[in-house]
């Protein structure tokens, strides 16, 4: 990295001060965390760092944002990381502080989100004695994190913290946990201002992937497949966004006229309003996108992993594709689910640029206009739709009303369930990093803290948490965090009095027995809750005629604003490819046409998840 001599080289610092200095050097401009005995020295060092380095406008360079629960801190950091592309930083105490981060750490691993989680730990001498607030952090977090470090040798502290950031952001990004005993925080030694741990295997593999450029023969092979196809389709995943390859993808796809569908995690990789964008595919993907997957004869997977929510039946996924090409940074994703006949492990950004350059230099310009016509027809014929005459508020209409104002430029975070899928389907996303959701883990409660974190990444951007009544309950305590820090986040709760997605499955697969998913008899008053937590704008919307007016009022409120919308309890998420089924089994519901007559098929309940 920077070879310049650090101005603080040689300064005697405590371990805690060392940690904070490395954070500052790594560009950390916000920490999310909750205090406790075992992390107090480092919290104190953050206090002193901020006091000594106040910005000219009087703000702190490294504010420490305190959630209601450490899980909230983890998701705030994830929201920050996803919205900014930087590493999100969490700092919590030992024991319960650390174990409360297990869920966001696993979530970040599953969605490849870069985090560094620093957990205080009991002093080295007390480890293993069942000390107060002691938990086996490496054992709990090791299997769910990209890596964990337990620092027992304080001389390695500085290098370890620096290396943790490097590991979190490099290769396939992920969460790195540092287990930091209290005595190491209180140790004092000389600050070196440079140096990394060796991690020889990791670094060698990273170097190999970075150096693995597309060779002439690979490029020729790829273009042979492209030119031999008449219906090519790009299937872009979260790797495009994590790999900062959005611009290169758009240029490549536009130039060669290749339509793009994205995964849930890839939303925003292309402008969803562009003519050749098919938006999301998969279980709740758009019918047009799924039909295009059925029709394509050449599928190009970019940073996407054939997840079960995309390829429920891998054998029958893209059944007409004569070739499938896969690009990924992670070799373990090649052939993991769906065998492909061409692949490349490398850096997506440079690979897409290389593809573009190669095709342009050779004036390759295949004519896919017939396919473009088919795509336009699919998009028109099988567009999303719903009951527009209903007397009850349709959730889709609420999103359309918000989108009419935000125009595809707001940052949207979500919980997990029906509202998440509606937000994915019905909002426009013109750019990357506008869409924050828990994709792989499907963690309810992600939305509110993620929105809070995102607001720190994009202070002047409109950030909306689109939530459900059940999801928001999971981290409801964070409402107060939004008002405490004066964050102008907009919180939307689509209240259908229960776990809507669970109800939908129970309706479809369990003869309508709504076991444990009905919350209509509960006494929660969301508006009062928001008011009690300091929201000056907190309204309930229940008349469809008020949607436009109230939504505008809510969005324009210049401070945290809360809106509960009482929606049609029977509103479903369609299309739906049943779990473990192929796309030709897709149910499009009452309002979207289907091009195949789907015979109702018995679904094996145990293989269905």
């Amino acid at each position: 990295m920077n070879q310049a001599i650090h101005p603080l080289k040689g300064k005697i610092m405590s371990g805690a001060e060392t940690v904070v200095q490395v954070l500052a050097d790594q560009g950390v401009d916000v920490i999310f965390g909750y205090s406790g005995g075992a992390i107090l020295p480092t919290y104190d060092a953050v206090f002193r760092y901020n006091a000594e380095n106040l910005r000219e406008d009087g703000t702190e360079p490294m504010p420490l944002i305190v959630p209601a629960n450490e899980q909230g801190a983890g998701f705030m950091a994830a929201g920050y990381a996803r919205a900014s592309g930087n590493v999100g930083t969490v700092m919590v105490t030992s024991g319960p502080g650390a174990t409360n981060t297990v869920t966001p750490v696993r979530d970040a691993m599953a969605d490849s989100t870069p985090l560094v989680v620093i957990c205080g730990q009991v002093p080295t001498s007390a480890i293993g004695t069942d000390a107060f607030q002691e938990a086996p952090v490496s054992s709990c977090l090791g299997p769910v994190a990209k890596h964990t470090f337990l620092i027992t040798d304080p001389k390695k502290l500085e290098m370890t913290v620096r290396t943790a950031f490097e590991i979190a952001r490099s290769g396939r990004p992920g969460p790195v946990v540092i287990d930091l005993p209290k005595d190491v925080q209180n140790w004092s030694g000389e600050f070196a201002g440079r140096g990394y741990l060796a991690v020889p295997g990791y670094r060698q593999r990273l170097h190999a992937a970075r150096g693995n450029h597309l060779e002439e023969s690979e490029l020729a092979g790829f273009f042979e497949m492209l030119q031999g196809s008449s219906r090519p389709l790009i299937y872009a995943g979260g790797g495009v966004i994590n790999g900062d390859a959005t611009e290169e993808l758009r240029r490549f796809a536009d130039h060669f006229g290749i339509p793009v569908t994205t995964t849930l995690m890839g939303i925003g990789a292309v402008d969803t309003t562009a003519p050749l964008s098919l938006h999301m595919l998969g279980m709740h993907g758009l019918a047009s996108a799924n039909y295009a997957v059925e029709d394509c004869d050449f599928l190009i997977a970019l940073g996407a992993r054939f997840d079960d929510r995309v390829a429920g039946l891998p054998d029958k996924f893209a059944p007409n594709a004569r070739h499938i090409a896969q690009f990924d940074i992670d070799p373990s994703e090649i052939d993991k689910v769906k065998p492909v006949d061409w692949h490349h492990v490398g850096i997506l950004k440079t690979d897409l640029q290389a593809l573009y350059d190669y095709g342009v230099a050779r004036e390759i310009k295949p004519d896919f206009s017939a396919w473009h016509g088919e795509i336009a027809d699919l998009k028109k014929r099988y567009a999303l739709n719903y009951d527009r005459e209903s007397e009850e508020i349709q959730p889709y209409a609420v999103i359309e009303a918000i989108n009419a104002i935000t125009q595809g430029d707001a940052i949207i975070s979500t919980g997990v369930g029906q509202h998440q899928m509606w937000a994915a389907q019905y909002f426009d996303y013109k750019h990357a990093r506008l869409w924050l959701t828990s994709g792989s883990m499907g963690t309810m409660g992600y939305g509110l803290p993620a929105a809070i974190g995102a607001q720190f990444a994009a202070r002047d951007h409109l950030v909306i948490d689109v939530d459900g009544d059940a999801s928001i309950r999971m981290n409801l305590g964070e409402l107060e965090t939004a008002t405490t820090y004066g964050l102008p986040v907009k919180v939307l709760v689509m209240n259908n009095y229960g776990d809507g997605m669970v109800r939908q499955w129970q309706k479809l697969f369990y003869e309508g027995r709504h076991m444990a998913s009905d919350k209509s008899l509960r006494s929660k008053d969301f508006v009062k809750t928001a008011q009690a937590d300091g929201f000056e704008y907190a309204e309930r919307l229940s008349d469809p005629g008020d949607i436009d007016r109230v939504v505008r009022e809510w969005l324009e409120f210049p401070a945290p604003a809360f809106l509960e919308v009482v929606i049609d309890r029977d509103a479903g998420v369609y299309p739906m490819v049943p779990p473990g089924a192929a796309y030709d089994q897709m149910i499009t519901g009452d309002w979207i046409p289907s091009r195949v007559k789907t015979a109702k098929k018995e679904v094996d309940r145990s293989s269905m998840f």
Binding site: S139, S332, D335
Partner: protein, 169 residues
């Protein structure tokens, strides 16, 4: 039919706290089996060698290999069974041998090239090295002739024949 084969995988891992736990956790979380596992330092004190025996189809073994390579502590992996290699396992076996059994046991020891470490009949202890299958056959032979007390096996270890894999270590 997918062929399930036995594989000996050799891993070099950084000698860090938790490295062994991470490798074994990977196997349990992803549902792979470990038949045996052996770990000890190499000539480089910073690096340990971990040898494990697992079974799986080619696809599963490839996933195991790729997933192992995602662990930050893992310096390198080699599937010994894919190339020419030498396999050995060390057995320490203790048996209780009566006077009418002793000749049969001594014969087994000679046949297999084992070595007697303690010849007291109530704690008759031998050592044997060989490929795991050979070690298994010896145990069966002894078991058929007397009462076993302890069977201590190191698990298979392997080294490539000829040129060294994994950067010479």
């Amino acid at each position: 039919m997918v062929a399930i084969m036995r594989h000996i995988i050799s891993l070099l891992v950084s000698n860090e706290a938790g490295a062994l736990a991470r490798v074994s956790a990977l196997f349990s979380t992803r549902g792979y089996n470990i038949e045996s596992l052996n770990v000890a330092p190499t000539q480089n004190p910073d690096i340990s060698r971990l040898t494990l025996v697992t079974r799986g189809s080619d696809t599963v073994i490839e996933q195991i290999n790729q997933q192992l390579l995602k662990l930050v502590d893992v310096v390198g992996t080699a599937d010994m069974t894919m190339d020419d290699h030498i396999e050995r396992e060390l057995l320490l076996l203790k048996a209780c041998v009566t006077s009418d059994q002793i000749d049969g046991i001594r014969e087994a020891v000679d046949d297999f090239g084992a070595r007697v470490l303690d010849d007291r009949p109530e704690a008759f202890t031998v050592e044997l090295t060989g490929i795991s299958e050979y070690v298994g056959e010896f145990i069966k032979r002894v078991e058929s002739g007397c009462k076993l007390i302890s069977v201590v096996r190191s698990g298979a270890m392997a080294v490539s024949r000829g040129e060294a894999l994994l950067g010479g270590l």
